[in-house]
């Protein structure tokens, strides 16, 4: 096929191509979400108790509960139960917590904010560390600094984040008394911004270090690949600051792939959040997960699981779309 002809067409229909790409991505996402709900439903079924039964408001009177049970067809075959459960889901009903009897959706939405704050800050810190270090490491390739940074990155990905968290609490909070040991605010405190920030630092740094460890090497190889030897020779000759000034454009291209990788971090962040929130008593959905497990609160657990999957799918979708917008080399077909 003649290259120039199709490129011209591509250019003219650029908008149309992008649109159809987005539509196609969305269409693929729908069966994935369905698959996610099916798996979720199957997992619930492995737990004691009936998933549909969990949907019934335990605050109702016994007669009403029996009536709802009949209406929901508890003895119906599995796929009908799944369908009922799905219908409830689409109405925004995730059932009721078995420990607090509150609606699951309410419980989760209360806890969502702190987790997003934590994850966002962690991501920010992680990139703040990784990008400059990665660039430095790339420009001063094979120097002592490079080995130091790479070594640090290796440590970052090899240390279990709960160990790092405990260690930092030990050193910074207990020994040095610099930062609080946990919670989002000081009990009985002024709830002010400084207080909140102080509480935010340690947990987000722990998560951030984990992210940075992975990303440093990624940034390094991306910069090395995109910029090529000439640019890097400039860096060694003229120094890093001038290098950044001269090569802003090249650096931008080198950093574009980072966007995709941010999206990929989200599932790992969610996992990390579970542990860190537990250690630091951070009132987010991570801690909620642990407490739900401990109290065998399956409805809440299932709701959390589903939410996590939806977040991941959305993050992937957004990442793909943003990437296709930003990278002109991507073919939409």
């Amino acid at each position: 096929m003649r290259l120039h002809a199709s490129l011209l067409i591509d250019y003219a229909l650029g908008g149309a191509h992008l649109f159809s790409y987005i539509i196609r991505r969305l269409l693929i996402t729908i069966p994935i979400i369905f698959g996610v709900t099916i798996i979720n439903f199957l997992i619930i079924n492995m737990a004691p108790g009936n998933p549909v039964e969990m949907m019934i408001d335990p605050n109702l009177s016994q007669e009403d509960i029996e009536a709802r049970k009949d209406a929901l067809g508890l003895n119906a075959p599995l796929y009908i139960q799944y369908f009922n459960w799905l219908m409830n889901l689409l109405k925004g009903d995730l059932g009721f917590s078995m420990s607090t009897f509150e609606p699951v959706t309410q419980i989760i939405s209360e806890r969502l904010g702190p987790t997003i704050l934590l994850m966002g800050t962690a991501l920010f810190i992680g990139l703040l560390i990784a990008i400059p270090l990665g660039i430095i490491s790339a420009t001063k390739q094979y120097s002592k600094l490079d080995y130091l940074v790479t070594g640090g990155a290796f440590m970052g990905i090899s240390i279990p984040n709960f160990f790092l968290g405990l260690g930092l609490i030990y050193i910074v909070s207990l020994q040095l008394n610099l930062l609080p040991t946990g919670g989002m605010v000081t009990l009985g405190g002024d709830n002010g911004l400084t207080d909140r920030i102080l509480h935010l630092i340690l947990p987000s740094v722990v998560l951030g270090i984990g992210i940075a460890g992975k990303k440093i090497r990624y940034v390094r190889s991306s910069v090395l690949e995109t910029l090529g030897q000439d640019y890097l020779r400039t860096a060694r000759a003229k120094g890093l600051r001038e290098f950044i000034v001269i090569n802003k454009h090249g650096l931008r291209n080198a950093l574009i792939p980072i966007i995709t990788v941010i999206g990929l971090e989200i599932p790992l962040l969610l996992g990390g959040a579970v542990i860190i929130e537990q250690i630091f008593q951070w009132p987010g959905i991570g801690q909620l997960t642990i407490s739900s497990i401990m109290s065998r609160d399956y409805p809440t657990l299932m709701g959390l699981n589903l939410l996590a999957a939806v977040i991941v799918v959305s993050a992937n979708l957004l990442t793909d779309i943003v990437y296709s917008l930003v990278d002109p080399r991507i073919k939409y077909e």
Binding site: I28, G35, P160, F163, L166, G167, Y170, P267
Partner: protein, 308 residues
Amino acid sequence: MSLVNIKQESDTSLGQVIPIVPESTIKEESYLQMVVRRYKKHKLAVIGLFVMIVLGLMAIFAPLIAPYDPYAVNETFSAPPTPLHWLGTDQVGRDILSRLIYAARVSLMVGVGAVAISVAIGTILGLLSGYYGGKIDMVIMRLTDVFMSFPHLMLILVVVSVVGPSLTNVILVMGLLFWTGVARLVRGSVLQVKQLDYVKASIVLGLSTPRILFQHILPNVIAPILVNGTFGIAAAIIIEASLSFLGLGVQPPTASWGNMLTDAQSLTVLSSQPWVWVPPGLLIMLTVLSVNFIGDGLRDALDPKSIK
């Protein structure tokens, strides 16, 4: 390939004249030998391998090395390191050093077990998906999409809490979750290799599909599987440690480096008994670091882009 002493010899039945290189100047290096040679260039990777071998031996010969029975309760509890107990004792009174040594078994079993299962499943599905394409490919890929949509740790937590925490369950759940990454990787490699002429030649020569898959495609696809598997071991060890730390993995009294850190969630233990939680944490880090180094070394050794 260097040519030394090119001799012209009429050597064939058709009377053809071709240059012949004397046997002694060419070394037959098999693929395996080449990989080993390139691996040895990475000092860190070699050190990592050495460390893992030591840890492995420690795990195997635990009963011979450990000073005490890891389950045995002694008179002193929460005791700091003494000549009797080199690393002190835990809350219940068990010798920490012995537990540390035995816990190596857990980590290694988890790492190897989970990866073995996931590689087995993932390789087969990836081969089928990549070679046959079409509907099979679509179904398998959608399946991996769905599984990959759950954050790993959360899904493992949820499933383990539903089926009950134990070492076997942890290994099984991880194995049944990690296969997706392997399958994708294998599929990608198969798609590349499928195009090559020697695969097409196999078809024209009438070789059977299983033979083509396992003798021609798989050996050329193994490199990324090995690298991914190695990093997978590191990930599995960390996940097991995290689970056990939360109390949802290996249950006490069985010792796991992870569950040896559970007590440290209390600020008293954290601040006043560092001998309880620092050694297991360090060991986890050492193990994972070594495995990561090995993986890195393997990746470079197997990378076809930097041949010789």
